[in-house]
Symmetry: C2
Subunit: 206 residues, 2 copies
């Protein structure tokens, strides 16, 4: 569908999207590339080039239609294309993500959580049940789920990932700091919160 947009551009698209949401809420119907550029601290021609990629034409002296931009960004990023996923690891972070309702409107549908702690099993979080991890392969197959959000402790990350791979999980959104070893058929997306912070902190706090 989408012609493999570079990561950097996708990242900017998500930022543009947030701004569109804000403008829509404020009842502003058009937006210009210099406005966006200034907000994000980038060049305005960059913004226009990105929008070109979305086949979204602007109007000189006026700008772009906010609603159209929002729609085409959502189309490009696949908001409507709902994706089912499991959360693996029902610790603080896993629970927080399970309660994070915005996932839904962005096309991510959390179906259930998994953990190996018997105390947590069968609890409900935000209408999603926590299952024992041993139930995952069966449920993944029955429900056709191939996305897992990994929120276990670092020490168990690789072991659990191996188990997920055996269960035919194809996409792992990795919130652990571990760098997972996976076969080429499996895609990993590293969130790495601490790494992210360090990038920030390094900028000039030190």
């Amino acid at each position: 569908m989408s012609k493999n947009i570079p990561e950097k551009i996708t990242n900017r698209l998500t930022l543009y999207h947030s701004i569109m949401v804000e403008y829509l809420e404020a009842g502003i119907e058009t937006i210009s590339s210099p406005q966006i550029a200034q907000r994000l601290g980038i060049d305005d021609s960059q913004v226009r080039k990105d929008f070109k990629l979305l086949n979204n034409a602007g109007k000189c002296r006026v700008g772009y239609m906010v609603r159209d931009l929002k729609d085409s960004i959502e189309k490009t990023l696949g908001f409507a294309h709902a994706k089912d996923a499991f959360i693996v690891g029902a610790g603080h972070l896993g629970l927080a993500l399970a309660k994070y309702d915005s996932f839904n409107s962005y096309g991510l549908n959390i179906l259930a959580l998994f953990d190996n702690d018997p105390q947590k099993v069968d609890m409900q979080v935000n209408n999603k049940q926590i299952f024992h991890i041993s139930k995952l392969p069966n449920l993944a197959e029955r429900l056709g789920v191939d996305i897992a959000i990994l929120t276990v402790p670092r020490q168990n990350a690789q072991q659990v990932a191996d188990f997920l791979i055996d269960s035919n999980i194809k996409y792992i959104w990795n919130f652990t700091p571990a760098v997972l070893k996976v076969p080429p058929t499996v895609k990993v997306w590293n969130e790495n919160l601490m790494g992210s912070f360090l990038q920030f902190a390094c900028k000039d706090i030190i």
Copy 2:
């Protein structure tokens, strides 16, 4: 101190660091650039160039000392340089982050949480107290805190950010999807979980 290392390189440094931790735990003392490169799916000369930046010489046919690499990455990223921070917004995500103990070993020290919900005020989370948001300016000044982790709902993000800026907060780690408007003296680091997922999902799920 650190000579403003580009974001991309910093990001790779955090990944290298994770691998070093893993190798150390496994008792492996040396590591080669091709090993790392293969693991991360990048070119090995890239890895060597990054290490060059750290002034970390390798040894032909052997590789680099894991311990040395880990130390110099930590030095470059400022692990030892402890930074105090507040969490603003004691919702699910804020609480999860407050309970996330790994922050400490990476040089981030959460001192307290803030919220405007009277029910949450005075509760303790992982030995950190939740204060009413109105207490923030005073505490920030007294404790010399200028870093805030923003985990409020998107709708309140800008308003709270403005308040933080008035309170002399200089660094905002923004977990809300809002694109904050801040003066040039304030630095924002956008986490944007959904945006991150969309980048991942776009890769080829659609």
